[in-house]
């Protein structure tokens, strides 16, 4: 799985992108977010408050219950502030 981080999530985690192999019990976006917290202190800090974390699966917005698989491109970022 390819993971992308943007804005202050990228800064707190310390990388813009990483590849992970998904454990078989990680089946949803929600599972993934909780699991990612354990990867480093940076991940834990960035993902402490999930109310300010948005997720895209293959470049579409996704919700906690949406499925994820090892082939996906998953992006994590704060609420957007463009325009």
């Amino acid at each position: 799985m390819k993971l992308l981080y943007f804005s202050w999530l990228r800064q707190r985690i310390g990388v813009a992108e990483e590849s992970v192999s998904l454990p078989t019990d990680i089946k949803t976006v929600g599972d993934l977010l909780i699991w990612l917290r354990g990867r480093s202190d940076g991940h834990a800090a960035a993902l402490a408050d999930l109310s300010v974390v948005r997720v895209a699966v293959n470049q579409d917005y996704a919700r906690a219950a949406d499925p994820v698989s090892d082939d996906d491109e998953i992006a994590l970022f704060p609420p957007v502030t463009g325009g």
Binding site: F6, S7, A56, Q59, A75, T81, G82
Partner: protein, 152 residues
């Protein structure tokens, strides 16, 4: 049509290209978003707009198609810039052209409201106290909500 670019936006040239020789058009509504030198009461000297290449284009294209589905448009254009900006610079340009003005006005407002809350861009402002990421505004969510459901 949508475009994500670093370069400045030439409004006159974009409008000319958008409408071309289409004589079915009776009204063109546009919105230009520019960088202010004040944000949340604090002076801002510059700003960097980060985005998610690939997803940006995909999302802009989806909402452009949605606007054309909801309103009877002859042409539409979204241009969103990224990179570093100083106050006064153009950031985003939306233009919709229609036989009837209400379709142009409504679809233009729809697109800019949507862009503010769904296009994957993040603002990093440079202030006297250092750089800070801009927080999303609840008022933007409210403005988008009045248009109902949009495609994911």
């Amino acid at each position: 049509m949508i475009r994500v670019q670093r370069d400045d936006i030439d409004i006159g040239a974009e409008l000319a290209a958008l409408t071309g020789d289409n004589h079915r058009i009776g009204g063109i509504a546009t919105f230009i978003g520019t960088m202010r030198d004040l944000s949340d009461g604090q002076s801002v000297s510059a700003m960097t707009l980060e985005h998610y290449p690939g997803m940006t284009e995909k999302q802009l294209d989806a909402i452009d198609r949605e606007a054309n589905r909801r309103w009877a448009l002859e042409a539409s254009l979204i241009i969103h810039r990224f990179g570093r900006f100083v106050p006064g610079e153009r950031i985003v340009f939306v233009a919709t052209a229609a036989p009837h003005r209400q379709d142009a006005l409504d679809s233009c407002a729809f697109l800019i409201d949507w862009l503010k809350t769904k296009a994957p861009f993040w603002k990093l402002e440079e202030t006297g106290d250092g750089a800070r990421w801009v927080d999303a505004r609840d008022s933007d969510d409210a403005a988008t909500a009045r248009w109902g459901e949009t495609p994911k």
